[in-house]
């Protein structure tokens, strides 16, 4: 059904009927300041609210609490395309109440189960409450705020402690103080403020604790660990070299691996597997269990590529080594597996992430393979192409055509290419999606559709460096990894994840600087580290009022 692609497409084609090709370029034009050695920094001094995922991670690491209280928070909206980009979000009353409720429950459990830990190892007896309280105020607020508390903050927290302990004793005093800490801005927000200098336009160098948080949240999605706190406290976290050293260390942690998995799932939209639905009339074998298997395969595949193999884009986009269980094995035509185990997929059919069932199932409609969605997503997410929407009259014209179910998906969508109005933009999209036609709407391989052989020939147009014909998604992947436009797009995606905000044209130079060090044969963990040691990470500029 050709029209099924129009919602997505509507967000992407040419505005005002102007020819699409000329507009399908990267929309980055910068002011041209700075030098290659010292890219201009355009990241404002700011506070970044913990995202729901980060909140859950932080209470796990701070309190050992795995109850995931943020699952009942409001469902944030993120402007950077990643679930750590809450920089634009304030706290509405509904959310302030959620924070209050969560803090009360967390504090209750913490004093019941981890009191001595909260008190920095002090074991309370009837005679040492004051000692233990002092120990608490010396240790816990620093970890919770991810920096030393200010005297004013400690004063207020002591006030809460006094009030509550007078009412209900020592433990209630500690519990209530924990509630206040968990609702305080220094807990809920990550500060990236630094101390503005009097020169250089008021540019601010972030302080060691701010850097520790920035590094830790980027790499692990959570608060700094003890070693990172120690480095900040001892003055061993100030330079790019320091950050690289700590970054390398953190990348070995399980939290970092989990966090990078999140980056890939969100970049490639495979995080949608957890809620994906298909029309059972078309895909009766698709269900939540199969979707979970698809997601598990990708988890294992991402880990394997990054940490057990070369860790490059080339590996990610061309490897046929993967993992499957019995459930997913049926879809892949792989037998003899039980539980999740390593497999080599047929290299003639499945090379790289773009050929994995989870990726293909997400980038399909509920009832068909949707070449338009596949083409649009690839152009947007992998090539960072700006495709403005179609003029309204073109849209109406295209919608009037009734689908013919006796045709193959490719034949139905080919009307786009034959209609000159549609073709002006769809020539950039559909021929990319057609290259995926050997995979149906749940990612199963097929050689025929509607009794006709599958035609998986595709064409890439309007790119900077990989225009031309290809056959099948595997060959498309081979083309992609040769493309500088693709590599630069990956850098932009990493920027959004690292900085928690969408890039603007002002960030062009900083991005170009990082891109110049990156290729399809660079370890992706090294790309992560090149952000860590870039000036983007170290400095902020004053917010324009």
């Amino acid at each position: 059904m050709k029209k099924a692609g129009w919602l997505v497409l509507g967000a992407l084609l040419a505005e005002g009927g102007a020819g699409c090709v000329g507009r399908a370029t990267q929309n980055m034009t910068g002011p041209g300041q700075g030098t290659a050695q010292q890219p201009e920094i355009w990241i404002f001094r700011k506070v970044r609210r913990l995202s729901n995922r980060e909140y859950n991670n932080v209470v796990r690491d701070l309190l050992g609490d795995t109850s995931q209280p943020a699952s009942s928070f409001l469902d944030d909206s993120y402007a950077n395309g990643y679930d750590n980009g809450s920089a634009l979000l304030s706290v509405q009353t509904d959310q302030a109440e959620r924070y209050q409720l969560a803090a009360e429950q967390l504090a209750q459990v913490a004093v019941d189960r981890h009191l001595v830990d909260l008190l920095g190892g002090c074991v309370p007896t009837n005679t040492n409450y004051e000692t233990c309280a002092n120990r608490f105020f010396e240790t816990f607020p620093l970890r919770a705020f991810r920096r030393p508390p200010t005297p004013a903050e400690i004063g207020r927290l002591r006030g809460v402690y006094q009030t509550a302990s007078q009412v209900g004793g020592f433990i209630l005093g500690i519990q209530t103080t924990v509630e206040a800490i968990l609702q305080s801005p220094a807990f809920l927000y990550r500060e990236e403020l630094g101390t503005p200098s009097g020169e250089d336009g008021g540019r601010a160098n972030l302080n060691p604790y701010e850097l520790a948080s920035e590094l830790s949240f980027f790499l692990t999605g959570s608060m700094p660990d003890d070693q990172l706190f120690a480095a900040a406290a001892d003055g061993r976290l100030a330079t790019a070299e320091d950050l690289r050293r700590e970054g390398r260390r953190l990348l070995q942690s399980a939290n970092a691996k989990g966090n990078l998995r999140q980056f890939f799932h969100q970049w490639l939209a495979t995080n949608r597997l957890s809620t994906l639905t298909k029309d059972p009339a078309f895909y009766p074998n698709f269900n939540a269990a199969l979707a979970r298997s698809m997601a598990s395969e990708l988890d294992l595949f991402f880990d394997d590529v990054l940490w057990s193999r070369s860790g490059t884009l080339r590996e990610l986009f061309t490897s046929n080594a993967s993992f499957t269980d019995e459930n997913l094995g049926r879809l892949y035509g792989v037998t003899g597996v039980s539980g999740f185990g390593p497999v080599l997929l047929d290299p003639d059919q499945r090379k790289g992430i773009l050929t994995r069932a989870g990726y293909l199932a997400v980038h399909s409609a509920t009832s068909h393979s949707s070449p338009v969605e596949r083409g649009v997503f690839l152009r947007q997410a992998l090539l960072c192409t700006h495709l403005p929407p179609p003029p309204a009259d073109v849209l109406q014209r295209a919608m009037m055509e009734v689908p013919d179910p006796t045709k193959t998906t490719r034949e139905r969508f080919s009307a786009h290419s034959n209609d000159p109005f549609c073709a002006s933009c769809h020539r950039l999209i559909d021929p990319v999606g057609f290259g995926f036609e050997e995979f149906d709407g749940v990612g199963a391989f097929r050689s025929t559709e509607a009794g006709k052989p599958i035609d998986d020939s595709g064409t890439m147009l309007g790119t900077q460096d990989i225009d031309g014909d290809f056959r099948g998604a595997s060959e498309l992947s081979e083309k992609l990894i040769t493309s500088k436009q693709f590599q630069e797009c990956v850098v932009r995606q990493m920027f959004r994840f690292a900085m928690g905000q969408a890039e603007s044209s002002d960030d062009q130079l900083a991005l170009a600087s990082i891109s110049s060090q990156f290729s399809s044969d660079t370890r992706l963990s090294d790309l992560v580290l090149s952000f860590v040691e870039s000036p983007l990470f170290l400095q902020r500029i004053p917010e324009g009022n």
Partner: protein
């Protein structure tokens, strides 16, 4: 106070249901007998079916029959034809869904954040809420079997309500949470009093820490934390009121199921309880409005550009791509498709009518709550094929006398969409000449 007693009795008779002593916690009005204004916004996606929406010879239509078939509601209803949103994507990669969704109630041009189309200013309900110093109740039913969210790159379609440019007010999607919020547990006894005292002590410390941080920030970041501080104060206000003895008599709605913890899929990708979710939210909203617990309620039917299947209306298809998009002329597309679009829109009308009738049923002063309310129901598009002409605008209620006319179709040519916000602000007591990016557009003609 005999007058109040009588009013209260009539009030309770109108509900004809079990009543309950509500804590004063959330009450924002001095008394339900005052002529306090209320505002309700409904946001719908995917356009209407033009020929079957607008009345012709009589003041009724197939789609609007749930509203206009009730003479009490019809006489308090104004329909405005000719509303359009100028085509302006403002450098974003959005489309007509976004032009309507993010602009209709903000009046502003789209704001590009990484190329995505976000609202460019506060929505009208938040402008009013800020001026009244109160919180609104924002609700939405977002579940979708065809297109569950989050869908990367489409977070801008999650809420049409904005605190400020690019900054959503997020809707509550679980009626159980709404219920808990408007009906908090009654606090009695010494231990409860003590608990509340401690909570206030905690919030005071939090507010102090927020103020410290705010003082070192630039204007944008400061505004964000100011909003947080305002929210803390709102929580404090509720706490302190729940300590007071005074309570208001109000009907107790049925407690909804706890969707988040018992059946989260019903809030995400399963539409089998969708009509129940919508109806429950409307009923909770109507109760909160009638009892003076909340003066502003916003309800959003799905994501911007949503893809509901309308199985409960016997359609059970992707009603965005496979139905609304095929409505390619004012007269409709194929007969069967036109019938589907009519049924979808008739459903929306029935839900707006549910709210209007609930407010009409509650006496207040010398009229009803609806007389003190303005319900504004609009749409992101005029037609499902993305036409931005004749976007439906339905205004119901008298806004405490501000709106004098009713029972009419206002069909006076093109009306720029900014007039909707301008009309709402004037009805709510803010005499403005424009709204959003149209500073002198004035309100709709023939309303005031």
């Amino acid at each position: 106070m005999p007058a109040q007693t009588i009013a209260r009795r009539r009030f309770l008779q109108a509900f004809g249901a079990a009543t309950f002593l509500w804590p004063l916690a959330n009450r924002v009005f001095a008394d339900t007998g005052t002529r306090q204004k209320r505002l309700v916004l409904f946001m719908q996606n995917n356009g209407t079916q033009q020929v079957n929406f607008w009345p012709t010879t009589t003041f009724n239509s197939r789609i609007l029959d749930p509203l206009l078939g009730d003479p009490r509601i019809a006489q308090k209803t104004n329909l405005i034809k000719g509303v359009y949103v100028p085509r302006d994507l403002h450098g974003t990669d959005g489309n007509e869904h976004d032009m309507g969704f993010a602009r209709m109630f903000t009046g502003e041009r789209l704001l590009s954040i990484g190329g995505k189309p976000w609202g460019g200013g506060p929505s009208v309900d938040q402008i009013v809420a800020t001026s009244w110093g109160i919180d609104s109740l924002a609700m939405a039913v977002l579940t979708s079997a065809v297109e569950p969210h989050p869908k990367p790159g489409y977070d801008h379609r999650k809420s049409f309500v904005y605190f400020s440019a690019g900054e959503h007010k997020l809707p509550l999607v679980d009626p159980f949470i709404v219920y808990q919020q408007i009906l908090p547990a009654v606090q009695t006894g010494e231990s409860a009093r003590q608990r509340l005292m401690l909570r206030r002590s905690v919030l005071d410390a939090v507010a102090g820490n927020l103020s410290d941080l705010t003082s070192v920030l630039g204007a944008d970041e400061r505004r964000k934390l100011d909003q947080h501080l305002t929210s803390i104060r709102q929580v404090e206000v509720r706490l302190s009121r729940s300590l007071q003895e005074t309570q208001v008599v109000c009907p107790r709605p049925t407690q909804p199921r706890d969707y988040t913890h018992t059946a989260p899929e019903l809030l995400i990708n399963n539409e089998s309880s969708l009509p129940e979710l919508v109806a429950t939210m409307i009923d909770l909203g109507a109760t909160a409005l009638s009892c003076g617990l909340v003066p502003i309620v916003t309800i959003q039917f799905g994501y911007g550009g949503g893809k509901w299947r309308f199985a409960w209306e016997g359609i059970d298809m992707n009603c965005h791509d496979d139905v609304a998009h095929l409505d390619t002329g004012d007269g409709g597309g194929s007969a069967i498709n036109t019938e589907r679009v009519v049924r979808m829109n008739h459903y929306y009308a029935s839900q707006v009518a549910r709210m209007a009738q609930a407010l009409e049923a509650v006496p207040e002063g010398d009229g009803t709550v609806l007389d003190n309310t303005l319900i504004a129901w609009s749409n992101e598009q005029g037609r499902g094929d993305h036409s931005q002409r004749n976007i439906p605008v339905v205004l119901i209620g008298k806004a405490a006398g501000a709106i004098r006319r009713g029972g009419q179709l206002i069909d006076q040519g093109d009306q720029v969409f900014n007039r909707l916000g301008c009309t709402i602000l004037n009805a709510m007591g803010q005499p403005v000449e424009g709204f959003g990016d149209a500073t002198t557009c004035g309100p709709f003609p023939g309303i005031f």
